[in-house]
């Protein structure tokens, strides 16, 4: 007799890679066909498990880049040069390959239509991934929640999803999209330069009086600094949700 998965129980499932699409020099999106996928909330993640021929296993978490409404599950993975898992996912995985994953996982760093707005999103590098899911979800459900996304990247070429997000923002007065470039900027760049700091946040983020729901995702130091500046600027820490990522140490 087949054992049915219990609701809420996490079970490993196989997904088939439909496409590996390069997003930037360091990141690729894995488009997956996951027949047993039961849906997710925008902002959740999955655990991916790789098993070597000798049985050695490595497991990592990746944010889901697709909206709940999207037909296929998409993960966007940044290649960490000394990583154990990401170089395989970004460099060696091909269409037709199978990938073992489980999820959706997490209930803290999510945005649902009922959460409303205004929503302040702050992304460092590939910290933009869960925000793509939230923004696609917001568009799919026709939410009018005001949202501002401030994204920090080394250069314009390193901004993930720029070609998708710019038209989305251009056609939506309630969606304010800003990039700040920390290392290189194109000629004639009129956007923000340098790392996110308190002055930039005070200039472009929602004010404490707007009572925004704030999400910050990025490397640990980035998240720590951004959250610290917001709290110092008078934002209620209870309305700030953070998600840190980094080398797992393994």
């Amino acid at each position: 007799m087949a054992r049915a998965a219990l609701p809420g129980r996490l079970t490993w499932q196989l997904a088939t890679v439909v496409e590996v699409a390069a997003e930037t020099a360091q990141t690729s999106s894995l488009v997956l066909d996951a027949p047993k996928w039961g849906g997710h909330h925008a902002g959740q993640h999955v655990d991916v498990r790789l098993t070597a021929e000798d049985g050695y296993e490595a497991q990592r978490s990746y944010s889901i880049a697709s909206a709940p409404e999207d037909r296929q599950l998409v993960l966007t993975v940044e290649r960490l040069e000394d990583g154990e898992v990401s170089p395989y996912l970004v460099g060696e995985l091909r269409a037709g390959d199978e990938l073992e994953l489980r999820g959706p996982i997490g209930g803290y760093f999510i945005w649902r239509q009922a959460d409303g707005g205004p929503v302040q999103m702050i992304a460092g590098g590939s910290g933009i991934v869960p925000f793509r899911s939230m923004l696609r979800h917001r568009a799919a459900v026709g939410s009018s929640a005001a949202v501002r996304l401030l994204c920090s990247a080394r250069s314009l070429e390193d901004v993930i999803y720029r070609e998708e997000l710019e038209p989305l923002a251009a056609g939506d007065e309630a969606f304010d999209l800003r990039f700040t470039l920390t290392r290189e900027w194109p000629e004639g760049w009129t956007g923000h330069r340098g790392r996110i700091d308190q002055a930039l946040l005070e200039q472009v983020a929602f004010k404490p009086a707007d009572q925004p729901l704030t999400y910050i995702c990025g490397p640990s130091g980035f998240v720590e600094a951004a959250a610290g500046w917001l709290v110092a600027g008078g934002h209620d820490p209870r309305h700030i949700r953070t998600e840190r990522f980094g080398p797992s140490g393994a």
């Binding site: 997490g106 760093f109 953070t242 998600e243 840190r244 140490g249």
Partner: protein, 80 residues
């Protein structure tokens, strides 16, 4: 080593408890600060994970996999 947060152990905790745990709250047994699990400072040195109270920094939770079985020591964290 830089700290991650409780989101990083969402999968193992869901595996262990059978439900989403990162929005569950608990009190640090050392300083009584109440945190959601997602807010804990999490270190993953490779063999497992150590979660520390974001306020006092003391260990509130340890996760380790022994012979393919996940074990969770929650003695520092009183789930509410």
């Amino acid at each position: 080593m830089e700290a991650l947060d409780g989101n990083a152990i969402a999968g193992p905790l869901m595996e262990y408890f059978g439900s989403e745990m990162t929005t569950a709250s608990g009190a640090c047994r050392h300083c009584a600060t109440v945190s959601e699990i997602a807010e804990l400072a999490v270190y993953m040195p490779g063999l497992g994970a150590v979660a520390r109270c974001p306020t006092c920094g003391k260990v509130v939770m340890v996760l380790v996999t022994i012979r393919e079985e996940l074990r969770v020591d929650l003695t520092g964290f009183a789930l509410t």
